[in-house]
Symmetry: D2
């Protein structure tokens, strides 16, 4: 009961408004479930659709009063900011091209922001938004949800504890099949680079892979030799991207992402080798983390199983053996953001273990990475600084 | 948005009161998360602890007003029943010996009931409660949550579709290690048979295994040759149970449950063989269902992957490859119960696919099964009618 | 090079004669490959078929001279025993009903014996053959080949080293689908109990499961409550058997074998729980042994990987990561038997680590187990002494 | 019995001489076991060590007469070629720098050759040897043993049958940890590029990955953007290599090999995506081949299981569910080479399904691939023609 830090600090839930994620949106339902699971947010307003006429019905189906179902995000931000009981946090799950606009506006109005990835479509926007966040004093949480899995947190904690020794080799891949079949796609805006960004596959899933690698290792990608393009006939949006990596500590790596691997579901997988052993994690079986040691039998870590480190323990709601999944990982990001927002708003010291949710720096580094891969790709895949 | 049937039918969420599951309870948090995830319930009142003085703080930490934080379950039911805005559904997650009492009382007051398993501690109580439910016209949902997993639903749907042919052999096991270590346990009431029932392991997890087997096959256990007992020194509560089974259609089977397998987490596993093929499912990797065919390559079903049948599709919130876990399975039980309650309360026809949540018949059959295993055990493990 | 102990001790390979395993036999090819792999045997004579006219062609196809292709096993034994360069070891892979006869005859002629399981069809024969072996001073090796897998040896070695603590719970199963399809079978003699024994499934695979359990734990089954029978329509030979077990140290267990699980291949699986942890091994992925500890992260042992104990290391021919399979496990049994035979025949001390191949005691205990399950089955599955 | 084609065609086994693989060699024992398993070869002579004085004892420990234990490979070839009962096939398993010399010499003397990989250390040698083989009319078999696994053959057969549609994306990796630990290595010659070739990791395992990719897809690598180097301090021999690939049909791919991933055993893994589905195979669990279809449930193929195609069926010795491993895959290469040699030497038509063993073209393409990766690496990883 007492584990709801927001209730403890504020005596109430955080007031959250939603922009995007309306009818038919998969990501909208996901954000809302993530926000509900740990009971730290109350939904107070929404502009759920880009079609103003659809906003009211959608908002009311969530139980919102009519006067807080707004026709668009800008109106929502402006009006909620004026209410004494207005939203103090806004969650943005619109198509990629509007993330920047709504985030800047919300920060301007003193709101904390939870924003879907990629943070922006361009590096210039990313730099501007990153700077804005730094000066705002507000929380900006970017939903790189995969870093919320308990075993991803355990991987990071093992690296931080020195269990891998010096990191030498990294391998990250994100293989999906959702765009393998030619013909029309479910979300047409994704095929429009003005809306989805200069490289669909890199924005959609490449940024997840990149963030996961950085999250676990604590290293940045220094240089890439990259190749991106389209493999499915009659498509134009990129559907695969490969890169050789050089990390800031000299470790070398391999990166591979695609949305065109027919029949594959959601194969985000990462492997990290250090001087003392290797870690392996796979999103499709997220409850196991394999640690292969140089000198001892391989170990299998499980959420809340023996050997769980505090950063991972924090990310489980239940005793060992009870699988938590995608929604719980997503909710961990929301929960950490909530606890941090509540601490700042109540002028108390934030829990250090709550500070591992993805933020504007992750967003900026993601955009830098995309830009570098595109430059390398345009230059015969030669090594390119990130 | 429009997928919240309760909001559609009632224009509001169902009003739910909670009995039990207070400070330190793992199952309490689980029930509340399950109830929150799909946004079909509003928590309106609670008697969270068996210690009256702890109830108020616990309730308020959930955001409940002081006057609806009740000192005990009976008071809660009596007072909520008198309020015009009172709870219409009560969720019971107290120790096993009070399930019967609170369920009967809630039904007497016209409430629908969501109750943790085992339904009761004795067969007599189970018979009485089952009869009460039949006459009440109310919904009684028993949280055999494992039947809420999408791939368990898929298994049932495949059996119903005839894909396995005639069922011949069944195997179900539930292997845990939580009670392997000698010494004090986390919940002392579990070692008191007056509170936890005549066979701890059978009530705690044997009923889950039994219900899962019945759920998937649609068959009842006709006879058992069973052995139950205690393997950890200085313990008295049963920690293992094994049985040979004869199903109502003549299929034969093996049943094995224990809480004393050191190091094992939550190994609920079921295998069903029919004349055309065999199914295998394991709770620790709930996102895969293996179907091994007599004449074709083995298949691997995944939630919302190709070949998903409607009963399973209903149980997923997200596209394929995004693992849902224990909480989502639990929430599926709450969701189906909610949709059925709302349909009945709004006098509309319930969705037939929502009718697969566990109910009082499951509870009664579970108690019959426990009783038969104990009779067989007392009689040199000879075959005994269930 | 120097690892061929037979060559070292004798300066030559052991002279082996083959009885059974002729055209179309799967087990015959397996025995010969096992015997060849480690280069400790020279094939010198054979009576490969029960049809005398087929024996010569079959033997010559193995490169044997015509005069050592015998029309039947008895002639082979009699004539080879008279040659100065005659066979000193005989391998028997005939249908079950002749194992006894050929084994007794070979021992009478001073030969060592390698015999397929089950050792005999009746307990009386098993007692007589066991006594004969004890008095003969010859080696009798029974090819319970699954105990030759490196990770099964590792499991035994871990138990012997005390890593599991006191054994409390055991679970063994052998699930196959080869007899799931109604209609004629490939080997008609298996459906004739005069040839295949009183319970086909128990003799064919039940004895393997039973031996594996005894091999790893070092315990005997003290009592069974068992049920055996036939699940496929129009068949008479038993195709499933289940039992509850009580081991000699008081550990309890579950046993389940079937050849009628449609689509399942060769699912021999064993799990052993002690006070300190649990082991899990599955024949279809024989290169991994899972050890789940009470207090530490789960470990995965692999052949020749870190933590390999000497008994297991002896059973691998290659560095870690290079899977060895069924043939290598089978060959390990032949190799250990060969090294022991050569040691005895050269009057040197046998390698203690070579003494873990299955022998006449295993065969006798297997027949005792079958007999007890049949008695229990005939007596309403009540507990029955083995 | 009748399945030994060499015995059928020649009435005897092929006479094989061995060069290399002496005391302490892991690969020597592997070759000999592979040659023995299917009974198509008789060992007639050997020069097992590079130390002439060690050759005799080593050869005699294999049971060879003293006069056919030669002090070096050249003497062996010269003298065996003059004997009427001399070796007709030579198997070469010496360090890499002598493969060329012994192969040329053996071909000059009319012998068939089975040679370990890489075929040569330089591209010039590879071109010369490849040309020699073409003109010789003799069989040259290169032991890229991983292509001998039944499920790798099944993968190739599925691709040839069009089950994947047009191949679009490929991913191959070979991750080992054998060289992760700093300090002295077991085989010092491997650290001498004059002996092991210009890139140790590429010659040792990169050629395996490359051949496996070509074998399954039937495509060649057209261009690479590659990076190779050393990650373990104080080492000079390459221990990792990464590349982006462009295949001859336009498919794109990722390639990653390393021997420095601490704790990893033998992780050769390949994934192929076509327009209709994706295949996945992993050497550490070689008995399963996953096929993920665009529109149907994922399938799991197993050796001799349902759906096995003839090319794969040929590669299994046993019914489904009985794992075959590394040795059997290696033996499949020897068996196919033997059957082809015997057919040619007996002037009969070779079995078309026996023609899939790796040959001099594979060796040449491997050397071309290594050369291209090194050129790309020296040129900032820009795209380079193979």
């Amino acid at each position: 009961m007492s584990d709801n830090l927001v209730m403890q600090l504020l005596g109430r839930r955080l007031r959250l408004a939603l922009i995007g994620g309306g009818p038919g949106s998969f990501i909208g339902a996901t954000h809302r479930q993530a926000a509900r699971l740990d009971d730290r947010f109350e939904f107070v307003g929404a502009a759920l659709s880009s079609r103003p006429d659809a906003c009211r019905a959608a908002g009311q189906s969530l139980g919102l009063p009519a006067d807080r179902c707004y026709p668009d995000g800008a109106t929502l931000i402006a009006q909620e900011a004026q209410r004494p009981d207005g939203a103090e946090v806004v969650a943005i799950m619109t198509p990629n091209d509007s993330h920047y606009h709504f985030s800047m506006l919300a920060l301007d109005h003193g709101m904390d922001v939870i924003c879907d990835k990629p943070m922006t479509n361009t590096l210039d926007e990313a730099l501007a938004l990153h700077a804005k966040v730094q000066h705002s004093g507000r929380v900006f949480c970017l939903t790189h949800n995969y870093s919320g899995y308990p075993m991803v947190r355990q991987a990071k904690a093992l690296v931080m504890a020195g269990r891998l020794g010096e990191i030498r080799l990294v391998q990250v891949e994100y293989v999906q099949g959702g765009r393998a079949k030619p013909g029309p796609v479910r979300k047409p805006w994704k095929d429009d680079p003005d809306r989805s960004g200069p490289s669909l596959v890199m924005g959609d899933i490449g940024t997840h892979a990149h963030q996961l690698l950085r999250f676990i290792t604590g290293l940045e990608v220094a240089q890439v030799a990259a190749h991106v393009g389209t493999s499915v006939p009659e498509r134009t949006a990129h559907d695969y991207g490969g890169a050789l990596l050089q990390m800031t500590n000299g470790a070398r790596g391999s990166f591979w992402v695609t949305q065109a691997a027919a029949g594959v579901e959601n194969g985000l997988r990462v492997r990290i080798s250090g001087s003392l052993g290797s870690l392996e994690w796979h999103q499709e079986h997220p409850q196991v983390l394999h640690f292969k040691s140089l000198d001892a039998p391989a170990q299998v870590y499980t959420p809340n199983g023996p050997g769980t480190l505090p950063l991972a323990a924090r990310a489980s709601r239940i005793v060992a053996g009870h699988p938590e999944g995608f929604h719980e990982a997503f909710a961990n990001v929301y929960k950490d953001a909530a606890d941090t927002i509540a601490a700042i708003r109540s002028a108390t010291a934030p829990d250090p273990l709550a500070q591992y949710f993805p933020n504007a720096t992750d967003g900026l580094q993601g955009l830098r990475f995309i830009a570098a891969t595109l430059r390398s790709n345009a230059n015969h895949s030669t090594w390119t600084e990130v």
